[in-house]
């Protein structure tokens, strides 16, 4: 999968490296800002209220 992506990135190696790092940064940003907060609220690890539910 990653090999396939790497071989399909355009440009010389340094350009591919920059694109790969940028793509990685975007993925981490999306995870940190949207995916993880959404998932975390559904997980039962961090509850601090008393509830009869």
């Amino acid at each position: 999968m990653y090999g396939w992506i790497w071989s399909h990135l355009p440009g010389p190696i340094w350009a591919r490296a920059i694109i790969a790092v940028l793509a990685l940064a975007i993925v981490v940003l999306v995870l940190f800002e949207w995916v993880f907060p959404g998932v975390s609220a559904l997980l039962p690890f961090q509850e601090q209220t008393v509830t009869d539910a």
């Binding site: 990653y2 995870l31 975390s40 961090q46 601090q48 008393v50 009869d52």
Partner: protein, 274 residues
């Protein structure tokens, strides 16, 4: 990262055998990469939960405090100066609430009406956690809208500050800005100071307990005595216990000592050296 299988010795490289072998390799490779990716994402989740939530929620809670327009700025944790300036204000320069304005009874205390969810209506000062400790209090206990973002949340069905009944609030003990991280350090008699637009409410810690998550009696109008009509103004803090777990809840109860109108300075309880 494509893996080419080397020609097997003694095997005839027939056109049917070779592609089958290669596609199995490809599938294994793909599965391996997916598993490694999943592992990295789980690791990132832990980093995010333990460290980055403090950054995100700290920012949100800071902004919520800055938006409050109370007569005394909640940010100016009296005696220690503002959070943003390093120089503490000298205690003698901080105006203190005169004794004659303090009312040692809930009678006549201004009580806020019902707030809409996620509205920040007050601030909590806890000198035991530092004279500069001040956090916004917002309406509701929804994880996503209040507790994970704005910090301390008020149980909607419980009393408002100063009212006879049980003003109950929840907050994270770890992560998300962790407003109640040091809850176990509170001692009997410690001040819990709630600030709203119209009044200061000074509560004193009366008891602490560790309970099951289903123990809703903790936030009953008379704490721990459901069904009993309240006669005093109480405060209850709930958070998780033990740290990094949701197995139990750590509860701290307090009672109103006095209230005073805003606009006349700060309660001496939150002024260092006063």
């Amino acid at each position: 990262m494509t893996l080419q299988s080397p020609p097997e010795p003694g095997l005839d490289a027939s056109p049917t055998a070779r592609p089958t072998r290669r596609s199995i390799d490809h599938v294994l490779m793909l599965v391996g990469e997916i598993l490694i990716t999943a592992g990295v994402i789980l690791g990132l989740f832990v980093v995010w939960q333990l460290f980055y939530t403090d950054v995100q929620s700290g920012r949100t809670q800071s902004a919520a405090l800055d938006e409050l327009t109370f007569p005394e700025m909640p940010r100016v944790a009296a005696g220690t100066g503002t959070v943003d300036t390093a120089e503490p204000a000298a205690p003698e320069l901080v105006e203190l609430i005169p004794d004659e304005l303090k009312v040692y009874s809930p009678a006549g205390a201004p009580v806020l009406g019902k707030q809409s969810e996620a509205t920040t209506f007050g601030a909590l000062h806890v000198p035991r956690w530092g004279y500069d400790y001040v956090k916004p209090i917002s309406e509701g206990t929804s994880r996503a809208r209040v507790l994970d973002a704005l910090g301390i949340g008020h149980y909607s069905d419980t009393a408002m500050p100063g009212d006879v009944g049980n003003f109950s609030i929840a907050g994270h003990r770890t992560t998300y800005g962790k407003p109640f991280t040091d809850i176990q350090t509170l001692e009997m008699g410690d001040a819990l100071v709630v600030q709203t637009d119209s009044a200061w409410y000074v509560y004193r810690v009366t008891s602490a307990e560790i309970v099951q998550p289903s123990y809703i009696a903790a936030i009953a109008p008379t704490p721990d005595q459901p069904g009993v009509a309240p006669t005093v103004a109480s405060i209850t803090l709930t958070t998780c216990h033990p740290r990094y777990s949701a197995a139990q809840r750590y509860i701290v109860h307090g009672e109103l000592e006095y209230w005073a109108p805003t606009g006349h300075g700060y309660p001496s309880e939150i002024v260092e050296g006063a």
